[in-house]
């Protein structure tokens, strides 16, 4: 399944160092059902997230998003929640790889992460790296994916691209 190259949705905002233990607590790692993982996504930091999230929504966070364990269940639970993109000041490296590998688009942009507020509506073009804040009319130009990552995403994930 290839990802779409645009996204549109409203923002759920989080702080720095959002670790994979709060994204999907280990007590749920005995399952890899996407629906079940989604039903516990962000549970230990925002109990209402699973009720508030709508398809297409965007997570915007601070530094070092996804730090901690290598559990791929973390990006899977975010993607299965309907989140179309995660924008952060920076990402922990294993989470970054995992997100790309399962086809969850992520954008590293300190400026966008700082200026975008909770509840705002965004439109994102992954081909150009342009983020448009529909609520404030602000635009952020970010680095588009490098060629080899675009290839992985176009093929629908790392394994399909091999």
């Amino acid at each position: 399944m290839a990802i779409r190259f645009e996204a549109r949705g409203s923002v759920h905002k989080f702080g720095d160092n959002i670790d994979t233990d709060v994204i999907i607590p280990a007590r749920y790692l005995n399952s890899f059902s996407e629906a079940e993982l989604a039903s516990h996504c962000m549970e230990d930091i925002d109990k209402e997230f699973k009720n508030n999230v709508k398809p297409g929504d965007v997570i915007v966070a601070g530094k070092n998003f996804g730090c901690g364990s290598s559990r791929e269940h973390a990006p899977i639970s975010i993607k299965a929640s309907g989140i179309s993109c995660v924008i952060a000041e920076s990402f922990a490296r294993i989470f970054y790889r995992n997100a790309i590998n399962i086809g969850l688009p992520i954008i590293e942009s300190a400026e966008a992460a700082k200026r975008i507020a909770a509840g705002e509506e965004l439109e994102i073009d992954f081909k150009t790296g342009k983020i448009k804040n529909l609520s404030t009319n602000e635009e952020f130009l970010t680095e588009p994916f490098p060629e080899f990552i675009r290839k992985i995403i176009e093929k629908g994930g790392l394994l399909a691209s091999l």
Binding site: N17, D21, N30, D44, N64, S69, S70, H73, N98
Partner: protein, 423 residues
Amino acid sequence: MAMTATQKILAAHAGLREVHAGQLINATLDLVLSNDITAPVAVNEFHKAGFERVFDPSKVVFVLDHFTPNKDIKSAQNCKQLRIFAKEHGIGHFYDVGAMGIEHVLLPEKGLAAPGDLIIGADSHTCTYGALGAFSTGVGSTDAAAGIATGNAWFKVPSAIKVVLTGKPNEDVSGKDVILHLIGLIGVDGARYRSLEFFGDGIQYLSMDDRLCIANMAIECGAKNGIFPVDDVTKTYLKERVSRPYTAYEADADAEYDETIEINLSTLRPTASFPHLPSNTHTIDEIKTQFGKIAIDQAVIGSCTNGRMEDMRIAAAILKNKKTAPGVRVIVIPGSQEVYLGCVREGLAEIFVSAGAAFSTPTCGPCLGGHMGILADGEKCVSTTNRNFVGRMGHTESEVYLASPAVAAYSALRGYICGKEEF
């Protein structure tokens, strides 16, 4: 062009004479590791992508260590699936209950990691093997699946931080205190995407178990890997474990580093990380003067960070002929069958049980809030594990304080977080 030790290993495995920081490479893998949480996802991806064969069954390791001996039916089903896969594909290194250990204690013991190797593992603490001069790093299940299928993985060549360790540490300072101090200095993302390369005359005073502990927690400051030079301590450790030839890589004298951090080991003090970040560090003296007696409900001694023989010996020496404090649950978990047997043979098992501690079969168990020591709301635990994030060991209102086996053992006796000064 001058290269770091990490870059040399990556270049050698990419068939290149040299690589530079930022370069994307495709490299061959010497070993691919996965566990009972990450391997089921990897196996499903492997099948979904239509792969039929493992690239080299002798280079694939499955360790059933996180939720084992199985804590519930779902975990049991996952392990069953892995047993079937391992049998079908002739996985060379399959470690089940009774033979297994916590993966990062087990692999060095079994001689599966050697200097110069390139190892990936679907577990973030795979960076442990840098203690032996290998390049090893944590990945997710999809990367592991691709590695299992093809024997290759892509990497972005990292730049590095040079960490120079000088001086001789005091007796009550261990590898755990060194790495907690470093994480406290640079923060949980201080080495993000980068290598930590260790140098200096202080390394000679660090045992292999100290180094394994330090490299293990490189990920807790965001590092891609942490790597030690290969010296006599390494060679002695490898002598009885690794019979195949290996290559010890040394950084070029003029290799470029983003920054240099110098730590004089002789000035370090026993250190603990307060909730809810490993970088939230305080020395044992600061704890006493600034926080007083932080009462604990539980002490955990074990994990891939501190579940080795030396850790057990340190804890046992402190607990010998003593009783743990009333109301404190003390859980000792040797990191492997070999460590467990060592505890039995050396009489440590008897010391732990006589002191009032629970003595468990190897498991990751409580470290990640899996089983064998989950915390209730409001409870505090001093633990020799590696993470103290919100909810890591149980309830979101519980607290984990990371420390060395010595501090955990002293605290277990007094009932509050302390070092040897309280005795």
